[in-house]
């Protein structure tokens, strides 16, 4: 599958090692589902799977949020407006926002996990009347690691959304919650029997968030997690992203806790 060349039009530093880059769709609009990802190619360096972090309603903007952790993500994160990168996608199964129709929605984000959840949040907020209570629970390592901080503050100001942020490690200036993100689940107001949950973050964090949601009464088939594995081809051909019988790239990345539970508890699967 051939990448398509697209020009970077805007970049923004989010955190010390995290950048958001906005790419022009070059003619066609770029339709995607919340939770899907693209394969982004930095010329001569390589390709990496990057989730889409923009608004699905604005198909004229293709937005990705990238943590510079390897040579490819480093090269992608440091692109400048005017640079051209290669894009393949969108790939994968996203957040089933439609399945939450009429239900309460609890979104639990840990660290950079907020990036692939943001398109779902935009859709939830954009069609707010379709859902019951909407709860956003964000965890970060420390106050300086809170992704999309000003946007979260903006959401917190809305009266129809409950948004809470917690950090694992606080500094002296931090006046908010301290503790892992799972501690927010017990305090949030939602009807567990009629709740759909979207959880994204490090695998350990997702596992314990799902356990906490389930212990509050949320059905495991209504808890959706987004898995991360090594993705090379994104089309189920290269084998790298296998997680048991699933190819995370095409059978996921989003799947239910019901589907994932057993494998999440196993080591080195």
């Amino acid at each position: 599958m051939l990448p398509v060349a697209r020009r970077v039009v805007r970049t923004r530093r989010e955190l010390a090692d995290v950048w958001t880059i906005e790419i022009e769709p070059e003619g066609d609009s770029f339709a995607f589902l919340p939770g899907q990802f693209n394969m982004l190619y930095a010329f001569g360096v390589g390709e990496a799977a990057i989730s889409i972090s923009g608004d699905p309603a604005e198909s004229g903007r293709l937005v990705h949020t990238i943590r510079a952790v390897g040579k490819v993500s480093e090269a992608l994160a440091r692109t400048r407006p005017g640079d051209v990168i290669g894009v393949r996608g969108p790939f994968g199964v996203g957040w089933p926002v439609e399945a939450a129709d009429g239900a309460d929605v609890v979104v639990v984000a840990g660290g950079l996990g907020l990036a692939p959840l943001r398109p779902a949040l935009y859709r939830l907020f954009g069609e707010r009347h379709r859902f019951g209570r909407v709860v956003l629970l964000c965890g970060a390592r420390s106050p300086k690691d809170i992704l999309f901080r000003s946007e979260i503050e903006h959401w917190r100001a809305r009266l129809d959304i409950e948004a809470a942020v917690t950090v694992d490690h606080a500094d002296r200036e931090w006046r908010g919650n301290v503790g892992v993100v799972t501690t927010l689940i017990g305090r949030a107001a939602f009807d567990p029997s009629n709740t759909v949950a979207f959880v994204c973050g490090p695998e350990v964090m997702m596992r314990f968030a799902a356990i906490e949601l389930e212990s509050r009464g949320v059905r495991p088939e209504a808890i959706h997690l987004s898995m991360e594995r090594n993705m090379k081809c994104a089309i189920g051909h290269c084998g790298h992203c296998q997680f048991g019988g699933d190819f995370v790239c095409k059978d996921g990345p989003v799947a239910t806790f019901e589907q994932l539970r057993r494998r999440l508890a196993l080591r080195e699967i």
Binding site: L15, A16, L112, D145
Partner: protein
């Protein structure tokens, strides 16, 4: 006054589902308290004479570190309980608890409740059933904190 406390503690998440008799029994050990932002609910090392069920506001649980800022390892808010060391000898606090904004809480006289737990093991069992999950949750939260799951950011 005691009837008023009964109503207040019945509304608190921590005592949800407690039967009337036990509730009345426990209410006899409680009082309404408030702390202004910056005020300490208690300090590490002090006798654990009163613990708190938070009704409003946020409390930072801190570990004092000599020569440094105290480390906040957890915050507690509405519906949470602050202080568990009152249950186990030597009945002294192991951390500081500081109100980060205006805090309204139910103060529970620990000696009074310990006595009631000793006298009536049904009350003791009810309290254990409520405190053990708090301890388990806190232990689990601490484990996750130790994992530092968000990794590399500096």
């Amino acid at each position: 006054m005691i009837e008023g406390m009964e109503r207040i503690i019945r509304e608190h998440r921590f005592f949800a589902g407690l039967d009337d008799e036990t509730l009345a029994f426990v209410a006899g050990c409680t009082r309404n308290v408030r702390f202004d932002a910056g005020q300490y609910l208690f300090h590490a090392g002090e006798p654990a004479n009163e613990f708190y069920l938070i009704r409003h506001g946020r409390v930072a649980l801190e570990l004092p570190v000599p020569g440094k800022d105290a480390i906040t390892f957890q915050t507690a808010g509405e519906g949470d309980v602050v202080g568990v060391s009152w249950l186990v000898p030597p009945f002294r606090w192991l951390h500081d608890a500081r109100a980060t904004d205006l805090v309204r809480a139910i103060g529970v006289d620990a000696k009074c409740l310990r006595r009631k737990c000793d006298d009536d093991h049904n009350v003791g069992y009810e309290m254990m059933q409520r405190f053990v999950p708090v301890l388990v949750d806190r232990l689990q939260a601490t484990r996750l904190q130790v994992l530092d799951v968000y990794g590399t950011s500096r």
